[in-house]
Amino acid sequence: MNTSALIVMLTTITLVTGLMIFFFIKVMTTPPRPEPDSYLDNDDEPEHREPNK
C-alpha cells in the first residue's frame, strides 16, 4: 500500500475500533441502576416479567 493510504486507513480503523470498544466497555462496567429500571433482567416487577401477556 502507498504511505498516505496506509496512514489514513490505520488511523481511521484505530480511531473507530478504539471508540467502539471504549463506549461498549463503559456500558458493561457501569453499575446498573436501582430497580425499577428499563430492563427485565433482575427485575422485581411481576408485570415486567411477562412482557407479552
Binding site: 486507513m9 473507530v16 461498549f24 457501569t30 441502576r33 429500571d37 430492563y39 427485565l40 427485575d43 412482557p51
Partner: protein, 551 residues
C-alpha cells in the same frame, strides 16, 4: 389504557438492537462505493466530521425524544412529537415515522429475501461451476421472476413471503423475546462473518487462486486520499447523506426503541455505543470486503466501471463467482457468510421498521402485540408486491427514493427544528443529559441548536436543487441547470422523458412508457398510504379527545 407494557430485556440487548437497526445492507454495499466515488481516503474526513456534528446529535435527539414520549405512554412518532410541540399539526409530521418504515420495509424485505435465497443457493452449490456471466444471469433471471433453478414457480415471491413471515413471527414474540433475542444472535454472527471475510479481503495475493492483484491494490484504491476533492460540495453532501442513511435516523425507529427506556435511565452513552458500533461495522468491516476482493480478481478499471451502478451488482452478480475462486468448500462457506451477514444486517433493520406501527396500534387502538405484528406483515406484503412484480419498471427504486431517501431528510429536519427550537434546547438538553452515564460535552448544545439543523437544511436543499453533474462552481457563476438526480427533476421524470425522446427502438419506447406509468403509479400509491396513515392518526387523536387522554 394502552396495551403496551413491554420492556427491553437488558441494556446490552437494547444497544445491540439499536446497532442492528442502524447496521444495514448499506454498511457493506453503499459506504465503500460512496468512498470510491468521492475522494477515496479523503472521503473519511467529511464522513467523520458529519458523524460528529450531524450523526451523534441526531442520535441524541431521537433517543431523548423517544424516551420523553415513552414517559407519556407513546411509542410511535405521531404522538411522541405531539407531546413536544403545542401545535396539533406536529402529529402529522410524525406520520413520516410510521409511513417511512412501512414503505421502506416493503422493498427492503425484498432485498433481504434475496440474501436469504442466496444463502440457500450457496449451501446447495448453485453457483459452483458458474462463470461470472452465469452468476450475473442468475441474478437477472431471479429479479425478473424468470426460470427458477430450483423448479419452484415464482421463487423470489416464495422467498419474499418466507422472509416476511419470519419478520412478522419474530415481531409477534415481543420486544425482549423477539427483536432483542435476534439482535443478540444476529449482531455477533454478523461481526464474526464480517471479520472472516475482511481477513480474506485484506490478505489476497496476486497469482493465488486466480487473483490478479494483491489486496493492497484494492485498499489503495479505496483509501488513497484525494484531498482536492475535499473542496467539492458534492463530496460533503455525499458524506452527510451516507452518515444519515447508515444511522437509520429520520425514520422513527430510534424513537420507538428508545420509548421503552425509563426516564431515569441513560440514553447518551447508549446512543454513543450503538452509533460507534455501526461505524465499526461500516468503516472497518464494510471497507475490507467488497472493494478489495472485487479488485483483487477483476482489476481497478473494471470495478471502477461497475461501482457506477452501485454496490448491489457487485454483491449479488460478482462476489458469488469470486468466492468460488477459493475452492468449492471455501466458496460455498464464504457465500453463506457474505449473504448471511447481509441477511442479519437486513433483518435487524427490518424488525426495527415494524415496531413503530405495532407501538402505534397498541397505544392508540389497544391491539395486542401479535395481531399488530401480523397486520404489519400483511401491510408490507401488499405494499411490497408491486416492487417484486414490477421491479424492472423501477417501482423498487421509486420506493427507495421517496421513502428511503427524501422522507428521512424531511423528517429529520422537522424533528431537529422541533427539538431545538420549539421544544427548546434548554429542555432538550435536560432530556439528553438526564440519567446520563457520560459527560455530554456542552458545545453540543450549540451544535444541536445551530449546526445540525443548518446541515440538514443544506442536505435537503442540495438534493432539491442539485446542479448538473454536481458541479456547484459552474452553477454558482452560470445558469443553474438542475441535474436529473435532483428532487425537482425527479418529480418531473426528466431523465425518463429525455431517454424516451432519444429512443427509436419500439421495444425501448414501450419499456420507457411503461416505466413512466409505473413510476407515477408508485408515487400515487405511496401518497395514498401516507394520507391513510394521517387519517388513522386523526382518528386516534379524536379517540384520545373522547377518552380525555390528551397531553
Amino acid at each position: 389504557m394502552s396495551a403496551n407494557k413491554e420492556s427491553w430485556g437488558s441494556r446490552v440487548g437494547l444497544i445491540l438492537a439499536m446497532a442492528g437497526n442502524a447496521v444495514g445492507l448499506g454498511n457493506f454495499l453503499r459506504f465503500p462505493v460512496q468512498a470510491v466515488q468521492n475522494g477515496g481516503g479523503a472521503f473519511i474526513i467529511p464522513y467523520l466530521i458529519c458523524f460528529l456534528v450531524m450523526g451523534i446529535p441526531l442520535l441524541w435527539i431521537e433517543w431523548s425524544m423517544g424516551r420523553f414520549g415513552g414517559k407519556h405512554g407513546h411509542h410511535s412518532t405521531p404522538f411522541i412529537v405531539d407531546t413536544m410541540g403545542k401545535n396539533r399539526l406536529w402529529k402529522y409530521v410524525g406520520v413520516f415515522g410510521i409511513w417511512t418504515n412501512i414503505a421502506v420495509a416493503a422493498y427492503y424485505c425484498y432485498i433481504e429475501s434475496w440474501t436469504l435465497s442466496y444463502v440457500f443457493h450457496s449451501v446447495i452449490g448453485t453457483f459452483s461451476g458458474l462463470d461470472q456471466e452465469g452468476v450475473a444471469s442468475f441474478f437477472g433471471e431471479y429479479v425478473s421472476l424468470g426460470t427458477s433453478t430450483l423448479g419452484v414457480p415464482y421463487e423470489p415471491i416464495v422467498f419474499y413471503v418466507i422472509c416476511l413471515l419470519l419478520n412478522t413471527w419474530i415481531l409477534s414474540q415481543g420486544l425482549a423475546s423477539g427483536v432483542e433475542r435476534v439482535a443478540k444472535i444476529g449482531m455477533p454472527m454478523l461481526i464474526i462473518f464480517g471479520l472472516f471475510l475482511a481477513f480474506r479481503g485484506v490478505t489476497l495475493t496476486a497469482g493465488e487462486n486466480g487473483a490478479i492483484n494483491d489486496s493492497s491494490v484494492g485498499l489503495n484504491f479505496l483509501w488513497t486520499p484525494n484531498f482536492d476533492r475535499l473542496w467539492s460540495p458534492t463530496v460533503w453532501l455525499a458524506a452527510a447523506g451516507q452518515i444519515f442513511f447508515t444511522l437509520s435516523v429520520g425514520m422513527g425507529t430510534v424513537h420507538c426503541y428508545a420509548s421503552y427506556v425509563r426516564g431515569n435511565d441513560d440514553i447518551a452513552l447508549n446512543a454513543m455505543s450503538a452509533g460507534w458500533m455501526n461505524e465499526f461495522v461500516e468503516v472497518v468491516l464494510g471497507a475490507s470486503i467488497l472493494i478489495p476482493i472485487s479488485i483483487g480478481y477483476l482489476g481497478v478499471d473494471r470495478v471502477s466501471e461497475m461501482v457506477q451502478s452501485g454496490g448491489l451488482g457487485l454483491a449479488f452478480q460478482t462476489l458469488p463467482y469470486l468466492f468460488y475462486q477459493w475452492g468449492d468448500l471455501l466458496g460455498a462457506l464464504s457465500g453463506v457468510m457474505w449473504f448471511g451477514l447481509l441477511f442479519f444486517a437486513g433483518i435487524t433493520s427490518s424488525l426495527a421498521m415494524g415496531t413503530p406501527w405495532i407501538g402505534f396500534l397498541q397505544d392508540e387502538f389497544n391491539w395486542g402485540r401479535k395481531s399488530a405484528a401480523w397486520s404489519f406483515g400483511l401491510f408490507v406484503f401488499l405494499l411490497g408486491m408491486p416492487t417484486v412484480l414490477f421491479f424492472k419498471y423501477g417501482v423498487f427504486d421509486e420506493y427507495d427514493y421517496w421513502a428511503g431517501t427524501v422522507s428521512l431528510v424531511v423528517f429529520a429536519l422537522f424533528e431537529t427544528i422541533l427539538f431545538s427550537w420549539v421544544f427548546g434546547i434548554r429542555k432538550g438538553w435536560r432530556e439528553i443529559t438526564s440519567g446520563s452515564d457520560i459527560k455530554v460535552p456542552n458545545f453540543y448544545k450549540f451544535i444541536i441548536k445551530f449546526i445540525t439543523p443548518l446541515l440538514l437544511l443544506w442536505v435537503f436543499l442540495g438534493s432539491l436543487f442539485t446542479p448538473k453533474g454536481g458541479d456547484w462552481g459552474a452553477a454558482m457563476i452560470g445558469p443553474w441547470v438542475l441535474d436529473n438526480s435532483s428532487i425537482i427533476n425527479k418529480i418531473k421524470n426528466v431523465d425518463l422523458k429525455e431517454k424516451l425522446a432519444a429512443a427509436t427502438d419500439p421495444a425501448a419506447i414501450q419499456l420507457l412508457e411503461n416505466q413512466i406509468f409505473f413510476v407515477n403509479a408508485s408515487r400515487i400509491l405511496l401518497l395514498a398510504v401516507w394520507v391513510a396513515l394521517a387519517l388513522l392518526v386523526y382518528t386516534a387523536y379524536k379517540k384520545r379527545v373522547r377518552e380525555g387522554r390528551l397531553n
